[in-house]
């Protein structure tokens, strides 16, 4: 009843090509942003911000990056954790070795280094694909894990191998309390989500999708496979690297290579699958889902009064995730994002579907 585009005529190309062509969508997004920027910092508790919202935002950023590679360009990657690690360690090294460098620039430089590594490990994608590419990205994962564990230069010869960041400031403002950290991360996520959304609906994104759907046909109509694939690897690893730097700097504070191991890569891949391959919105849904399921699994037995050990919950979590992955692949390969758009379609017709 309320969600109708009747009477919203588009008179310019500009208005026809907006990200959200329907007025109600635009209002919804503005309200969402207002809630995220104003209401949540005022009302959210410390635990809610630190334990749920900050991880959710950073992981959705990483999922957006991975979705560009897997969902839009069709190149499967099991090495996302490695690119996050490169981002985090590169940013940290800039902080240690160039003390004058501002925080935002450090994090962006982390992204730049992740891009370089991503492109190097993306080169095999020009010759191989599918399963074999998955193995190539696994190689990246194991190599990077090893490098940060065994090469002391990267951790500035820290004896324990784990690194920690000092008190953070950005543009002269402190980034220390939960609210400040949350707002800092939120700014990054909003800006990068906007950039990603615009990239995937522009020329570059269309090239990626053409490569994904059929690379031979794409090459025939004049899309360069080398350029399309390597840009997908570059953009994806840049975003993932920035997310990694944020994960290390803002969420963890001090970390060791284990924070970015293979399980992180799988977790991100699950987010992308559950959220929806080839959808920026879906990355957020997937991240929310994966962050919330363990929280729910921890609290539901407590409400029901079932005494479950931490180990048991951990194993049940594994089973639930595994079953959900298979369920989504079979029932709804396009993930939560597809359910969302189906719901919107239904809402347009409601309450008179015929």
């Amino acid at each position: 009843m309320f969600y109708r585009e009747n009477g919203q005529f588009k008179t310019t190309y500009r208005s026809d090509q907006q990200i959200f062509p329907i007025l109600q969508d635009r209002i919804f997004i503005w309200i969402l942003l207002a809630v995220a920027f104003v209401a949540v910092p005022m009302l959210g508790s410390d635990y809610f911000l630190r334990g749920i919202l900050i991880p959710f935002l950073i992981l959705s950023l990483a999922a957006v990056g991975l979705n560009i590679l897997v969902g839009y360009c069709g190149q499967i990657s099991l090495g996302t954790g490695a690119f996050m690690a490169v981002g985090a360690y590169a940013a940290w090294n800039f902080g240690v070795r160039v003390p004058a460098m501002p925080l935002v620039l450090q994090i962006l430089m982390g992204g730049v280094f992740a891009t370089l590594v991503g492109v190097v490990f993306g080169i095999p994608s020009l010759r191989i694909r599918g399963l074999y590419l998955a193995v190539a990205t696994l190689a990246a994962q194991f190599f990077v894990d090893w490098a940060f564990l065994r090469i002391p230069y990267f951790t500035n010869y820290s004896p324990s191998g784990n690194v920690s960041v000092p008190a953070l400031t950005a543009f002269g403002l402190p980034v220390q309390t939960a609210v400040e950290k949350y707002l800092f991360v939120l700014c990054f996520v909003v800006v990068f989500a906007l950039i990603a959304k615009n990239l995937v609906r522009g020329a570059l994104g269309r090239q990626w999708m053409a490569m994904r759907d059929m690379d031979v046909a794409a090459a025939v109509i004049g899309i360069r496979p080398v350029y399309a694939k390597l840009t997908a690897f570059a953009v994806s690893s840049f975003i993932v690297g920035v997310a990694g730097a944020l994960w290390g700097f803002i969420h963890l504070g001090s970390w060791e290579p284990l924070a970015f191991d293979l399980n992180r890569s799988f977790q991100l891949l699950f987010m992308v699958i559950i959220g929806g391959l080839g959808s920026i919105m879906g990355s957020f849904f997937g991240a929310a889902f994966i962050v919330l399921v363990p929280v729910a699994l921890h609290s539901v037995p407590r409400w029901l009064g079932l005494p479950l050990s931490v180990d048991t919950i951990f194993h049940i979590e594994h089973m639930v995730f595994g079953a959900l992955i298979v369920f989504f692949l079979i029932v709804e390969p396009h993930g939560l994002a597809r359910l969302w758009s189906v719901a919107k379609e239904k809402l347009r017709m409601w309450p008179f579907p015929h």
């Binding site: 399963l131 194991f142 194993h315």
Partner: protein, 309 residues
């Protein structure tokens, strides 16, 4: 020289173990085009079942014979793997026929998470041991050629023999039985096999059963060597480069790939490791396989892939 030979032997033996896990990958890939990421989880579940049942069954039935306990546990564990194979085919693969290879890969990733959780949920997650009476004492050979001889672990040697026997049995099964012939037909061409009346679904169940059996044997051998715990599941990740190197569709490829990777890992760790900080055997196999892929994407013995980029 003696040290080099010792390292070489060690590499060959661990290569056999990799090959054992690699076999499971190859069998399933050949017959159904599914790259089974869950092979590691299957090894873990099988080993956990074996370790636990060999303790539980004597308790339930009230006898003490180790041999009988092991045999019964093996039978129960094998039955469990068969049931698992049937369930996977029934609940997952049947619904994903004709999907892209990457979709199937992700589905098996989901299965592997599920099995990891299920195995540890039902059998517990501490470290268990499997005692099937493998010889533990070291054995020295060629003592008259080198001073002190060369140390060969009898346990490794037994494991390698078992692996070789398993491969031989599989080869016979594929070559001389009706089901084996059907399996080869399905591997060659799904549609042609179906059109001459071979039931695809049954074949898939059979092949997952065989892979489950491979997982059980691999689980027992790895488990009795290193103990049964969660890290067993990551053994499959170590065996992945093996099948990439040997070719995803070739059984001899899995064996020879396993031997190459095993030897390469050990030699690189011993001779190259000290220069770069050690621990390189984690990624050495992957990088070896990766470099190999660039020049020969189908692996050593694999069928030529037409859909190269």
């Amino acid at each position: 020289m003696a040290f080099f030979l010792e390292t070489l032997f060690g590499g060959l033996m661990s290569g056999m173990l990799y090959a054992l896990i690699g076999l499971g990958f190859v069998l399933i890939f050949k017959a159904s085009g599914v790259f089974n990421f869950a092979q590691g989880a299957m090894v873990l579940v099988a080993a956990l079942a074996m370790a636990r049942f060999s303790v539980w069954i004597p308790q339930w039935l009230g006898f003490e014979s180790l041999l009988l306990a092991n045999i019964l546990a093996f039978i129960v564990a094998a039955a469990m793997m068969f049931l698992l194979a049937w369930l996977i085919e029934r609940l997952v693969l049947r619904h994903l026929v004709n999907q892209e290879a990457t979709t199937l890969l992700m589905a098996t990733l989901g299965i592997s998470y599920f099995l990891d959780g299920l195995g540890q949920f039902s059998f517990g997650s501490s470290v268990y041991s499997i005692n099937v009476g493998m010889p533990k004492e070291p054995w020295f050979i060629l003592e008259n050629m080198f001073e002190g001889g060369i140390l060969v672990s009898l346990e490794d040697l037994t494991a390698a023999l078992v692996a070789a026997l398993l491969v031989a049995a599989l080869a016979l099964f594929f070559q001389y039985t009706g089901t084996g012939r059907a399996l080869r037909a399905v591997a060659d061409d799904h549609q042609a096999a179906q059109s001459v009346g071979i039931p695809l679904n049954r074949i898939w169940v059979v092949v997952w059963c065989v892979a489950g059996l491979c997982a059980l044997v691999a689980g027992i051998i790895w488990g009795s060597k290193f103990g049964v715990q969660f890290t067993l599941a990551t053994a499959a990740l170590r065996a992945l480069p093996v099948v990439i190197l040997g070719g995803l569709t070739s059984i001899p490829g899995a064996i020879i790939g396993g031997l190459i990777i095993g030897v390469g890992e050990k030699l690189s760790e011993v001779y190259l490791g000290p220069f770069v900080g050690g621990g390189i055997e984690i990624w050495f196999a992957y990088v070896l396989a990766l470099v190999f892929l660039l020049f020969r994407p189908q692996g050593l013995f694999g069928e030529k892939i037409i859909d190269r980029v």
